[in-house]
């Protein structure tokens, strides 16, 4: 299975995007570098936390196939002897799902990691001396983005969901770890 995995993935990619990527002129591409800002909702909380980040996006000119790498973080929040923060990075493939030029809806899917910590200062450590908790969670991510081009300027509004990995025990218990991100993006494209 593992030996055949690249071949299976290549076949799926070819089925999904092959027609579109082959239609693009050879060697043509779009590169966009964007900054992002928005809110994050954690799995176990209904509060919205401010986040910011950056992304790089490489696309065929017809936007049939897009590669995207992104990073975002919630700034560290300090209060009452504790500090906490979340961050994540993702790699995704995507495609445009509407036909209009210069604006439209885009779909992305891929994987990544969400991480974070809660730190306690010296006066707030328990008897065990623990300085805090860290986590790093791999998972699947999917996003839907409405984006527009104004000359060299790239603008987008996006909703992204990250679903953290669950082990067999958690899956049997029907547990999932969803993170939601709502972001606005602005950048430049070439």
């Amino acid at each position: 299975m593992s030996r055949n995995l690249p071949r299976i993935l290549a076949t799926i990619c070819l089925m999904l995007f092959g027609e579109l990527t082959l239609a693009a002129p050879a060697g043509s591409a779009i590169l966009a570098i964007n900054s992002t800002a928005g809110v994050l909702q954690q799995p176990t909380s209904h509060y919205y936390h401010a986040i910011y980040g950056a992304e790089a996006l490489l696309s065929t000119t017809n936007e049939g196939f897009i590669l995207r790498a992104s990073y975002l973080e919630r700034p560290e929040f300090k209060d009452a002897g504790y500090a906490d923060k979340d961050f994540g990075w993702f790699g995704q493939i995507g495609t445009k799902v509407t036909k209009a030029t210069n604006h439209g809806l885009y779909a992305f899917i891929g994987g990544g990691r969400m991480g974070g910590y809660v730190k306690a200062d010296a006066g707030h450590r328990g008897d065990s001396g623990e300085t805090g908790n860290h986590y790093l969670l791999p998972g699947l991510t999917a996003a839907m983005s409405y984006a527009a081009r104004l000359g060299p300027v790239y603008l987008a509004a996006e909703q992204q969901t990250f679903v953290g990995y669950v082990d067999k025990v958690q899956l049997n218990a029907m547990v999932g770890w969803p993170y939601n991100f709502f972001q606005f993006k602005i950048g430049f494209l070439w």
Binding site: M15, L16, L105, A107
Partner: protein, 163 residues
């Protein structure tokens, strides 16, 4: 004899697959009944959906989300944007929709996939009248008593039948 019969069967399936692909304007009926959640036990969330390649009409009820003591229940209309529609053996699509619930207005965003449970159909379009596995990652945005609530279905699974 076996080889000849197998070749004929594959040729027939190829022809049937192409015929389906050219007429891929079928309806799909879906029932979803398994949903994960951050708490053990998942969500008791159920939906019934009728879709084409371009839209989906759904009714849903989530017993894990209470509005004034009653299960969140609503109906939505979604515009579907297929990445691979029902001419593919494995469908991928995104959906954006809006509707009403007993808690207030709702919008929802979905990343969905429909995967045939019959491997014989691998190279062809979505098989008719046969159950397929529907897997969604759905986010619902609700306005309940002037509060914006985001509710996720990290995995919402069910069965689909195309007809």
């Amino acid at each position: 004899m076996v080889i000849r019969a197998t070749c004929l069967a594959w040729l027939w399936l190829l022809a049937a697959g192409h015929a389906f692909a050219e007429n891929s304007r079928h309806y799909t009926l879906t029932s979803q009944f398994i949903a994960l959640a951050p708490n053990a036990g998942g969500q008791n969330a159920y939906s019934l959906r009728l879709a084409t390649n371009n839209w989906e009409l759904s009714g849903f009820s989530n017993l894990s989300v209470a509005v004034s003591g009653r299960a969140l229940t609503g109906a939505t209309f979604d515009w579907r944007f297929p990445i691979c529609d029902d001419s593919c053996w494995w469908q991928f699509f995104v959906q954006a929709g809006a509707g009403v619930t007993n808690g207030g207005p709702i919008t929802e965003l979905t990343w969905g996939s429909v995967l045939p449970l019959v491997p014989l159909w691998l190279p062809f379009g979505t098989p008719l009248y046969l159950p397929a596995l529907r897997l969604d990652i759905t986010t619902q945005l609700l306005a309940i008593r002037w509060r914006a609530v985001t509710w996720s279905y990290p995995l919402w699974a069910g069965l689909s039948v195309a007809f």
